[in-house]
């Protein structure tokens, strides 16, 4: 029994990691309707920021996390102004290929700067052990992940629903023309939204070094997973992504535990069937 609980929690924590990686995409793809496959590249950038600060500059792991968010967000804002805003109005295929091209180039840059080997970082003591809760031994890093994911969800949902900026984002997304007419600087709002979404990816990337491995192809490895989370959860729904990520994590870990020979087959099958019957995802509105 306790073993099943431990596996369940393992899956849940993995799901929370996926959620942290994909919540930004649920903002850029879900709200701005921009098919942003470059999201994985920003996660990778965040990962390398943390790696560089911990391993090369000797910072403690926790202190690097805000910078993983901030630096990635700044880089993303730069690229948004330079490149991405030019293709918001393009067709889907062009968006897909442009952003894939971006991932290609970024992973080459990462390989040039950091080499192609797997990187890892030194964790603080209290995140490496186990914590015993009600007779179940749980790895403390995964508890930490789940806690951060909850905090991020609350901040993002509250930020979108209850702040002035959130209202401005929703207005710009729903009707750009009217929003412009009311005096909102839509392109600035989009740039900020994009930067925040990508910054969250960077944070997710930094947190995932310990569980997934960080190498230049990181952007591709997580791409499919985060796309599944966003598509299944429903565009523009942060809670949807949360639920989808939790389910995906639990499904994946349970599936590999119960039917190891089927691998990820079940997940893809589940996604295809679900999207066929509900093309908008579980909680999609538009």
């Amino acid at each position: 029994m306790s073993q099943i609980l431990a596996v369940l929690f393992d899956g849940f924590a993995y799901g929370m990691l996926l959620f942290l990686l994909s919540v930004g995409l649920s903002v850029t793809l879900g709200l701005m309707n921009f098919i942003n496959l470059a999201h994985g590249a920003f996660a990778m950038i965040g990962g390398y920021v943390t790696f560089a600060l911990v391993s090369l500059a000797g910072w403690p792991f926790l202190a690097t996390l805000p910078f993983a968010f901030l630096i990635t967000a700044i880089i993303a804002a730069g690229f948004e102004v330079l490149l991405f805003r030019r293709i918001y109005q393009s067709g889907e295929l062009n968006q897909v290929l442009f952003t894939i091209g971006f991932v290609f180039s970024m992973s080459a840059v990462a390989a040039y700067l950091f080499g192609t080997v797997n990187q890892s970082v030194k964790m603080p003591e209290f995140l490496t052990g186990f914590i015993e809760l009600a007779g179940v031994k749980l790895p403390s890093y995964r508890i930490f992940l789940a806690a951060i994911a909850l905090v991020v969800t609350i901040i993002v949902v509250a930020g979108l629903e209850y702040t002035r900026f959130g209202a401005m984002v929703r207005a710009s997304v729903d009707n750009q023309k009217v929003a412009r007419g009311l005096g909102l600087n839509v392109s600035k709002i989009f740039a900020l939204t994009f930067a925040i979404g990508s910054g969250l990816a960077g944070l997710g990337g930094a947190l995932s070094i310990e569980i997934l491995s960080l190498d230049p192809s990181f952007g591709f490895h997580i791409l499919v997973l985060v796309l599944i989370v966003v598509a299944v959860g429903g565009l523009g729904s942060v809670w949807g992504s949360f639920v989808a990520a939790a389910c995906l994590g639990i499904f994946d870990v349970m599936g590999k535990y119960l039917f190891p020979e089927l691998g990820s087959f079940l997940i893809y099958l589940f996604m295809v069937v679900l999207l066929f019957y509900k093309p908008l995802g579980l909680f999609g509105k538009r």
């Binding site: 295929l93 897909v96 180039s105 598509a231 087959f265 995802g281």
Partner: protein, 334 residues
């Protein structure tokens, strides 16, 4: 203004230009005469061009975006490869078997494809591709799993020409298939059916109002495209005598979409040109670390999307029409 006779208009559109004849003659002669050491590459390019044309049919003409079309390429490759492994190595019937099998799978999938749009369509095609890779990996008694399918033996073409390491037969065989596929697709896109596809791509509501059965048309072209992709896979499997898991994978789907965008969608020759440029460049730059090769590919993709959204051929056409319309505009202005 004269009323346009639709049949005549289509016939005009389908007229064969001397450039086309020159292109195909060059495709036959140049590799044999000048690059006999590169015939293996040339036949790989021809097989890829077939695949790229298949993708052009659905993306360029019908507007169905698929991120997992390599699934059908791989199905064709495995079907032909397994047939040959089990003892029937006759190339032409083997390739047709691969095409029919992939086409049948494409027909089944098409029921799903035509019912979804946008992100769901992208994700379903992507998901089906990954699903198939996992399946092929699991069924390793049939497919050889991650070791790849070994033991393919392709018999002589027409019982006479042997498939050798140098690829003389392979290139002739692949180029012949590419030419036939091209003729078929050229006929297809210049038919009322092809016109209907383009109209559905531009405005599905209006075609519905005109009485075009959108879904039936899209299903048909998806099935044809899957069969052609399967043919390309089968031919590549026969000429290289091996099939590996990556013939199904996302990387191949992405590469082929890159080639198509590079060359230009919706014009068939764009698909051919794109595969030539991509594969020749990759071959020439193969001394480079693959990571760096992808830097240039990524950069090229971004440049093409930003500045030449209709590909190299589309860009050339635009320059040509600008040059030829400028004098007229001056007349209008005066």
């Amino acid at each position: 203004m004269q009323p346009i006779d639709p049949q005549k208009w289509l016939r005009n559109k389908a007229r064969i230009s001397p450039y086309e004849i020159a292109f195909w003659i060059a495709a036959l002669i140049i590799p044999y005469a000048f690059f006999p050491n590169y015939l293996a590459l040339a036949s790989q390019i021809a097989a890829t061009a077939i695949f790229c044309i298949a993708l052009d049919l659905i993306i360029g003409y019908a507007g169905i975006i698929s991120l997992g079309h390599a699934a059908f390429f791989g199905l064709g490759a495995y079907a032909a490869g397994i047939l040959s492994q089990k003892g029937w190595g006759e190339p032409i019937s083997g390739a047709l078997f691969g095409a029919i099998f992939a086409g049948f799978c494409g027909w089944i999938v098409s029921f799903m494809i035509v019912r979804v749009q946008h992100l769901a369509l992208l994700m379903i095609t992507l998901g089906l591709g990954f699903l198939l890779v996992e399946l092929a990996n699991t069924l390793d008694w049939l497919t050889g799993g991650s070791d790849g399918l070994l033991g393919i033996d392709t018999w002589n073409l027409f019982g006479v020409f042997k498939f050798t390491f140098w690829g003389y037969t392979a290139y002739g065989y692949t180029l012949g298939a590419a030419f036939l596929v091209f003729l078929l697709c050229r006929r297809l896109v210049n038919s009322p059916f092809g016109l209907a596809l383009e109209t559905i791509r531009e405005n599905p509501q209006r075609t519905t109002a005109l009485g075009v059965p959108n879904r039936a048309r899209l299903q048909k072209v998806f099935t044809i495209s899957a069969a052609i992709a399967g043919l390309a896979g089968a031919i590549l499997a026969q000429t290289t005598e091996t099939v590996s898991l990556d013939s199904l994978g996302f990387q191949r789907s992405a590469d082929i979409a890159v080639m198509l965008i590079l060359g230009g969608t919706g014009r068939l020759y764009g698909a051919i040109l794109g595969s030539i440029i991509f594969l020749v460049a990759r071959d020439q730059l193969s001394g480079m670390n693959p990571q760096y090769w992808y830097f240039w590919i990524g950069l090229l993709l971004m440049i093409v999307v930003l500045f030449m959204p209709r590909g190299i051929l589309g860009g050339l056409e635009k320059i040509k029409s600008k040059l030829s319309t400028k004098p007229n505009q001056k007349v209008d202005g005066a």
